[in-house]
């Protein structure tokens, strides 16, 4: 048996009137609308009411869509939320029932729901929308979702109790939970609302008969089918008639009443042909095939079966299309969602990139600036240090240069003194010695530092020359600490000469004993200590002589040491020790030990 579930879904609109009544109401509404052309809430309400009725009276009226659009426009213009919401609902209904576009329908249902979200006061008017969505899900065979919606409606809106109950029954029927289905059908049939609504009653009985039939309760199925048909005949309920006939045919078939079964099948076929309802046609042909087979009219049975198969295939194709549509929709939605997600991610990445880029740039700038600053500071410092070094160098050079005339004039004194005491030829030879000394002074004073042995050589020559001038007056000794590499030690030139000169000129008075000058070079840790010691009268250092008369050479040497200390950040020292009257003087110069290699 081709047991086909042929149920009519219960539209979520409370329908109280019969077909004639419906048409009458519709006409009066049309009249009313003609008089009410203003843009106000009353007009909107009226228009919505009209659509609801018109949709039932004439489901294939395509002009209704434009009409609702108009309603929507007016309602939005005047800001009438309830009207707008209901207009959306009407739009959804049109798409759902007239245009068979569940997706569009769903869209409008959701528009309506979002209005409720914004305006909670509309909640009480909104349950029919839940019902509509439930129906949509039911038609799309998403039974659990549909059930959820209808149960909500059942809970919140008593005016929709019947619709909700009936649909719940239908859902259970579709899910082949026959007991639950029968329970809810009977519950629906007991409701007050059903008593004044023969359309519903007929539909409920028709559907119930189907479930009973499927459940094997043939008698109950028959009773229900007959009740349904009686109601249809009595009230002229065209809406339910094809379904009821198809279901009745199946009930009779189950009861082996082939004549009646065939009659209703044919009637259902005729009506569904006229309506173009393939589902009902398929159901009717299925029933007929079974009927003919049961009657033994196999040719007709085969023919009916062929029709049945074609319709079945076509319906499956339709189902497939629906399926494909659904998939496509899901795909589109998925695509949109992923695009949005990607866009968001892109934006986030972009934002992060900007942030990171900006941060890096800032960091780089700061770093670059610091680097620049450090470099600049270092450069400035170096420049300053170079400048200071240059100043010191110049100062030292000037001081060394001052030594030259000093030495020259003192030498001239010596030569003059010699000439007075000796003959011209020996004076000439004395002079050549001094010329040699002067040459050395000039050469050495070119250098900042010279090897110690060079300076000692010069001092030796100088002392020899001076001894020649005053034979027998003094002698000298140079003592160098053992292991001191005098060739590799650097000293500023002519540092000791002024002190030796002082000893010779001021240290030894005519009455004093034989003079003796000792030059002692030694090393103390990393200092080079140069000492000039005499046994003269002493007191020339600072005691006996007024400061301004202090030797020019010594003053220059002090300044040179000072500049050298500043330049090299060292602690070279000059110490003049007066050993007391007639005991002599000791001069000690300590320099940081500087090596050539």
């Amino acid at each position: 048996m081709k047991c086909i579930l042929c149920m009519f879904a219960f539209v979520a609109i409370v329908q109280n009137s019969s077909a004639q009544q419906l048409q009458k109401e519709l006409d009066s509404l049309t009249q009313l609308l003609k008089t009410q052309n203003g843009k106000d809430t009353t007009t909107v309400d009226l228009r919505n009411l009209y659509v609801k009725q018109a949709l039932f009276a004439n489901p294939s009226d395509t002009t209704l869509l434009d009409f609702v659009k108009g309603t929507l426009r007016v309602s939005q213009q005047i800001g009438y939320d309830k009207g707008t919401m209901q207009a959306y609902e009407r739009m959804a209904l049109i798409y759902q029932y007239s245009l068979s576009n569940p997706y569009k329908a769903q869209e409008f249902y959701h528009e309506a729901l979002s209005l409720i979200e914004r305006n909670k006061s509309l909640q009480s008017f909104g349950w029919s929308i839940y019902g509509g969505i439930g129906t949509l899900y039911y038609e799309q065979e998403e039974y659990s979702k549909a059930l959820r919606y209808f149960k909500q409606v059942l809970k919140h809106d008593t005016s929709l109790e019947l619709t909700a109950t009936a649909n719940i029954a239908n859902i259970y029927g579709s899910q082949e939970q026959s007991d639950s289905a029968i329970y809810f059908y009977n519950r629906a049939l007991r409701l007050e609302q059903v008593k004044t609504n023969p359309t519903y009653k007929a539909n409920l009985y028709s559907n119930l008969s189907l479930i009973y039939g499927r459940n094997g309760q043939v008698d109950s199925a028959l009773i229900c089918a007959e009740k349904s048909i009686t109601l249809i005949e009595t009230y002229g309920i065209e809406f339910v008639r094809p379904t009821a006939y198809a279901n009745a045919s199946m009930a009779y078939l189950a009861n082996h009443d082939y004549v009646k079964a065939e009659k209703y099948a044919h009637l259902a076929l005729e009506l569904s042909d006229a309506q173009g309802n393939l589902f009902l046609q398929k159901s009717a042909w299925g029933s007929l095939a079974d009927i003919y087979a049961a009657k033994g009219d196999f040719a007709q049975a085969l023919e009916a079966h062929k029709r049945f198969s074609v319709l079945k295939d076509s319906l499956n194709g339709q189902n497939r299309r629906v399926e494909i549509n659904k998939k496509e929709l899901e795909f589109n939605f998925e695509k949109e969602r992923s695009t949005t997600k990607m866009e968001i991610e892109r934006q986030t990445t972009l934002k992060r990139a900007y942030l990171f880029g900006g941060g890096s740039l800032l960091l780089a700038s700061v770093f670059g600036f610091l680097l620049y600053k450090r470099h600049r500071d270092a450069f400035e410092q170096k420049k300053e240090a170079d400048f200071r070094a240059m100043v010191s160098e110049t100062e030292l050079k000037a001081l060394r240069a001052q030594m030259n005339p000093h030495f020259i004039f003192n030498s001239l004194n010596s030569i003059g003194d010699y000439i007075l005491k000796n003959d011209t030829y020996t004076a000439m030879e004395y002079l050549t010695k001094f010329a040699k000394l002067m040459r050395t002074v000039l050469e050495n004073s070119e250098f900042k530092e010279i090897p110690l042995d060079e300076d000692l050589k010069f001092l030796d020559l100088y002392l020899q020359v001076e001894i020649k001038r005053q034979p027998g007056k003094f002698d000298y000794a140079v003592k160098i600490e053992e292991g001191l590499d005098i060739q590799n030690i650097l000293v500023p030139p002519l540092l000791l000469q002024p002190f030796i000169e002082n000893s010779i000129w001021h240290g030894f008075t005519p009455k004093s004993t034989h003079g003796r000058i000792l030059i002692d070079i030694s090393r103390k840790e990393n200092m080079l200590v140069c000492m000039v010691d005499d046994n003269g009268s002493g007191g020339w250092a600072d005691g006996g002589m007024p400061m301004e008369k202090k030797s020019f050479g010594i003053a220059i040497t002090e300044s040179r040491l000072e500049v050298l200390n500043r330049q090299k950040n060292t602690n070279g020292k000059l110490k003049i020790i007066d050993k007391g009257q007639d005991k002599g003087t000791q001069v000690e110069i300590s320099l940081p030990l500087e090596l050539l290699y």
């Binding site: 030829y425 000439m428 050549t432 010695k433 040699k436 590799n488 050539l596 290699y597």
Partner: protein, 244 residues
């Protein structure tokens, strides 16, 4: 023994004559005031020792040397303070006395001039001197005394000098090693201003041959040798290298 004195100032001649007094017994002293006179005299008299002043009116002692045909004498230049001339003498290993002449220096120079060996290769040394003194941009040559006389080296061919107590080993770009009977200090002073650098107590390097400096204290030469640079010389060594 004939001693010729060439000087345009009479008092200088007198002073030299005075210094020669201790040896007057064995000497015949002649003197000339001008270059032309001197050329004639020298070529005529063939003196054993010539004291030659650098500046002679508008001419120089070098003009004289370039013109004389007889050069088989011992030469001692006398000069007051001519830096360029002194350097040329040192390069050519030719004796010189600075005026006013000191007796000790004079005695030393005169005694040396009396030795026959001092005359060795004088002709070449004079040529070196004349080429070095010339205003043309000739490569500077040095006369290097060694055990059998003199070596003549172009300064820029010397890669480096290495001290060996009182001797110095000179390494040249042709891969040869010469040993001179002078201290490294002598060559250091001689080659001042010719891009030589004393990197170490025993090393004098021609900076032209330095390819790189290594942080661990070595200079690398383009013949592959690694030479120590003493810690105290590093800074100035790097500076000197960068100035080349």
């Amino acid at each position: 023994m004939i001693v010729a004195i060439v000087d345009d100032e009479q008092h200088c001649i007198d002073h030299l004559v005075h210094l020669l007094q201790p040896h007057i017994g064995i000497l015949e002293i002649v003197s000339f005031n001008t270059v032309s006179e001197a050329i004639k005299g020298i070529d005529e008299l063939h003196p054993n020792i010539v004291f030659l002043d650098v500046q002679l009116h508008d001419k120089t002692g070098f003009d004289l040397l370039a013109s004389v045909s007889y050069r088989e004498f011992n030469l001692i230049f006398t000069t007051a303070y001519e830096k360029y001339a002194i350097e040329a003498f040192r390069f050519s290993a030719i004796a010189y006395l600075l005026k006013p002449v000191d007796r000790e220096d004079f005695e030393y120079a005169f005694q040396k001039a009396m030795e026959k060996s001092e005359q060795a290769q004088l002709h070449e040394r004079i040529n070196v001197l004349l080429s070095n003194i010339s205003t043309e941009h000739n490569p500077k040559r040095i006369s290097v005394p060694h055990k059998d006389g003199y070596l003549f080296l172009v300064a820029t061919d010397i890669i480096r000098c290495q001290a060996d107590i009182n001797y110095t080993h000179i390494f040249t770009s042709d891969g040869k090693k010469h040993t001179a009977s002078k201290t490294l200090k002598h060559f250091e002073q001689l080659l001042v201003g010719h891009n030589f650098f004393r990197t170490h107590n025993s090393h004098l390097i021609n900076l032209r041959y330095v390819t790189s400096y290594h942080r661990d204290g070595y200079a690398l030469l383009d013949n592959g040798e690694r030479l120590e640079v003493s810690t105290r010389r590093r800074e100035s060594f790097i500076k000197a290298c960068s100035l080349i």
